[in-house]
Symmetry: C2
Subunit: 355 residues, 2 copies
């Protein structure tokens, strides 16, 4: 009997529905083609339109509803007429936090036919796995404003680092590094200037490293890390850091590797108590919404990560190989130099599944 997975599909805003449609088509095709599993999808229309109609991004039982699924496939959130701080905190950041998806995983590599940006870099020099702490740190949500609007106003942003939170992400990162061929980990901090939470990161890295004697690891300051990514990309493999630091570095990575349009991510609860959530990195991109030209590769790659997380390694590899081949043959959207639209790229990938 093929295993059946129940997936919550949350297309959200902007180009979200266009790329999630593409991902669902690919997932349907790979399930049929492999025969090893089936997928059923429920479409949850929580996003900015829902908010404008109801005053809330998530219905009151929304998180409970999500917990009934094996995984969540998420498009994008954010609308021109809602402040981003509202849409993101009420939907995306609430889900990441409440479902304790504490590991945000972002693979970045150069797909065939996509040249890295740097003159000094060959495509195979970039094959990185970013592990972003996804539940605390600079995104803990604490802080406030006092004397708002007056000349003596003070605003704070309080980054919270718990030993529990840092240890679990550090273990996850060392495990990730140990599972990859090169077994290399770089721990990013800014502990020269940030003397409390980031020094805690350094200490916990030392501690946890003892549990993983076969992982080679080093430390980098976040500012110097940008230089290393540009000048010496082949020295890096798995990379772990705080919520904000890796937010910045993983966007840079996608740009250096060729395009943010292909960047995929997984918001993972490694304990598997809650469903994990898979989302392209690109966001709602209202400037190209409705034109049918959005690059679906970020969403399709995220679906491949979902299959892998569900245990369907072969299905996941089929999708990744199809993406690689479609790129190698130039079947890409304009942002990658190709001439196809969203549906044509999707069709090309589906036709490659059988190869």
């Amino acid at each position: 009997m093929p295993h059946e997975y129940k997936i919550a599909s949350m297309p959200g805003d902007g180009i979200g529905p266009e790329v999630i449609d593409a991902a669902l088509d690919v997932l349907d095709a790979v399930a049929r083609y492999s025969g090893e599993f089936t997928l059923s999808f429920d479409n949850l229309l929580w996003g900015s339109d829902f908010y404008k109609a109801t005053g809330t991004y998530l219905p009151s039982d929304g998180l409970e509803t999500l917990k009934k699924y094996d995984a969540v496939l998420f498009g994008a959130v954010g609308a021109p007429d809602v402040p981003d701080s509202v849409s993101l905190w009420e939907l995306l950041l609430t889900m990441r936090g409440s479902l304790q998806q504490y590991a945000n995983v972002r693979p970045v590599k150069c797909l065939s036919s996509i040249e890295p940006v740097s003159r000094h870099v060959r495509p195979r020099d970039i094959d990185w796995m970013f592990v972003r702490e996804n539940s605390e740190g600079e995104y803990a949500g604490q802080g406030g404003r006092t004397h708002s609007g007056f000349g003596w106003e003070v605003a704070t942003e309080v980054a919270i680092f718990t030993r529990h939170g840092v240890r679990r992400i550090m273990r996850f990162a060392f495990e990730t590094a140990a599972s990859r061929p090169r077994k290399l980990l770089t721990v990013v901090t800014k502990s020269n200037a940030q003397r409390y939470g980031l020094v805690l990161w350094d200490e916990i890295a030392e501690e946890v490293s003892k549990e993983f004697p076969d992982v080679k690891w080093d430390k980098m300051l976040v500012d110097a890390m940008t230089v290393r990514m540009v000048r010496n990309p082949q020295s890096l493999d798995t990379i772990v850091g705080t919520n904000l630091h890796i937010d910045i570095l993983s966007d840079l990575a996608a740009a250096l590797a060729g395009s943010v349009g292909i960047a995929a991510s997984a918001n993972i609860d490694p304990t598997r108590k809650s469903p994990s959530m898979f989302e392209p990195v690109h966001g709602s991109a209202f400037d190209i919404t409705g034109k049918g030209i959005a690059n679906p590769l970020g969403a399709i790659w995220s679906s491949a990560m979902m299959l892998e997380w569900l245990g369907e390694k072969q299905g996941s590899m089929l999708v990744m190989n199809a993406i690689e081949k479609a790129c190698a043959e130039g079947n890409t959207t304009g942002d990658l130099g190709g001439k196809l639209n969203t549906k044509q790229v999707t069709a090309a990938i589906i036709s490659m599944l059988a190869n």
Copy 2:
């Protein structure tokens, strides 16, 4: 009568003394050559050796002593056997804060003969002026650790943003943008995730922009900003942001433009109540200390910024032109592909002053 300036020279640690020596030689030469000003230097040996001998980085009257000078030329601080969080907070960050050098200015451009890293970029596409808030934000120094070492430990890093502090750096940035030919300013925040201090940044940018109707400005999120720097560098000119955000982006900028070894910075008190401090960005670099091969261009460029700030625009331009010419003729250190050592590069620049 030529104006006489009193300069505090603080070579500090690692390659600091080597590059500051080079800068002093160039400054001496340009003063002699131009005849419009004279410079006297006092050598202040406050750094990690001083700390190891006395237990403190700055003597108790150190800040008062510094206030007697017209400017400070600083090399680098940081030693392998002192935690960076100690050396930086006791010396560099104390000076920046106590002397209210609230504007950290970092020009980044491609010098002749140095190719930008990106395949898609021509040298003239990169000509950026970074303005970094240098006195508060993520470097306010607040935070702490509770239940240290226990499983339930919590550490915080508290970023502090005052309306006063944000307004003064925003005005400085708009003024800087207004003084440059393109009159373009990009304000970097992360106000979608950081809802208090960074939303304050957005609001103050709107307010201050009204005072500068001829400056064209836009807003970018710090993560997306890395992508724009890589893909679309020519769309950027002056850039302002928080202490941490611009720390990261300015290192990335230097790497994209060719080398961190040439990056210069000025820690400015725009009110001129305290002396401003000029420092290369590269740091102490103990791995190459004592070999005589450090790139002196960061320190020499910083000296040119010092002359400009003192009002010696012609002297400053002489130095910048000499740097440009030395690079164009390939008179560079190994990090820039050249074959010269520190002293030879310095001699080449001095010989170009007269051209």
